[in-house]
């Protein structure tokens, strides 16, 4: 039997879990902690914002994240220019002591679609500065290829716009990226709403799923986190196992030979 236990690789670091989870939008800090633990994720995303000394600079949240003992993946969410993204990445590197950056560079306010042109430029700048870039991008094969050419070992195309929960809007495009970039660690980032969406992405051969709202905004986030942990595992095993050949016409699985009551008319 094949093993679906092969670890996920992110810039040389190996992980058992193929689910990356966000830290935003949970109904309470406790639900956040419980959900993240239930997801079995080993990597959590977080961000930076202007601090208010009166609120003690968000120290409570920071302590809570540190207590989880997970690998941190800071993002550049909300950045609209190369300069903003590059400088926020540098601030993240100093605070979080990691050269990983989830590079988000928004090109449109309405659907939060990444700006592919600026994304390439920012990726180039950051890689030359020693960052390990995990770019959030649309499902365009050529953009993904250019990101790989720049040195990205991990690429994160969207399933659907951030926070929509619509699932994989263009499975064919995602499949093309998988087929054409077999060496890259591919993570579907954004747009996942249901465990079945995660299964579908994993069955396409994606290495992992990154999500936040699907768990944080579920009616029972902890239970949904458990569901996603199983979904990612099931989808991965399904991919590794290899699907049956698809057919256009029905083919009975029960033998027809020896069928009682049969007679030649």
């Amino acid at each position: 039997m094949k093993s679906s236990q092969q670890k996920m690789n992110i810039y040389g670091q190996e992980f058992d879990s193929r689910l990356l989870i966000g830290s935003a939008l949970y109904p309470s800090p406790k639900v956040m902690t419980d959900s993240i633990k239930a997801s079995q994720s080993q990597i959590v995303t977080l961000s930076l914002r202007r601090q208010s000394p009166e609120q003690r600079g968000g120290q409570a949240f920071w302590q809570q994240i540190q207590d989880l003992g997970m690998t941190l993946l800071p993002n550049t969410a909300g950045c609209h220019t190369v300069k903003e993204a590059v400088n926020l990445a540098k601030m993240s590197r100093e605070i979080f002591q990691t050269d990983w950056i989830k590079l988000e560079l928004i090109g449109d306010e309405y659907n939060l679609q990444p700006d592919p042109i600026d994304l390439l430029e920012a990726t180039d700048v950051l890689i030359k500065d020693g960052f390990k870039v995990l770019p959030y991008c649309s499902d365009d094969l050529i953009i993904c290829r250019r990101l790989a050419d720049l040195g990205c070992q991990v690429i994160m195309p969207w399933g659907a716009p951030i926070g929509t929960g619509k699932g994989l809007l263009n499975p064919h495009a995602l499949q093309s990226i998988r087929q054409r970039l077999p060496e890259v660690t591919l993570i579907v980032d954004a747009g996942i709403g249901l465990p079945s969406h995660a299964v579908q992405a994993m069955e396409l051969g994606y290495d992992a799923i990154l999500l936040n709202s699907a768990i944080a905004q579920a009616q029972d986030p902890v239970l949904m986190a458990q569901a996603f942990a199983k979904a990612v595992e099931a989808g991965r095993a399904g991919f590794v196992a290899g699907r049956m050949p698809e057919k256009q016409v029905a083919e009975p699985s029960t033998p027809t030979l020896g069928m009682p009551f049969w007679h030649q008319s």
């Binding site: 939008l25 977080l46 926020l88």
Partner: protein
Amino acid sequence: MNIMINGEVHALTSSTLQDILVEFNAQPPFAVALNGDFVSQGEYGSTQIAAGDQLDIVSPIYGG
């Protein structure tokens, strides 16, 4: 002098970034950008701030 910190005007007496961060009561952990450019911790003491400069002082927050 008046400088902008996190989008608001602050009247401060210090001139180096190091002293301004103390005067502002910045709570660690934080990172700083001056007029949009990152300033590393090691540069705080040698970075002079002028009237009208814009500082961003950021801290960890939840994110997706």
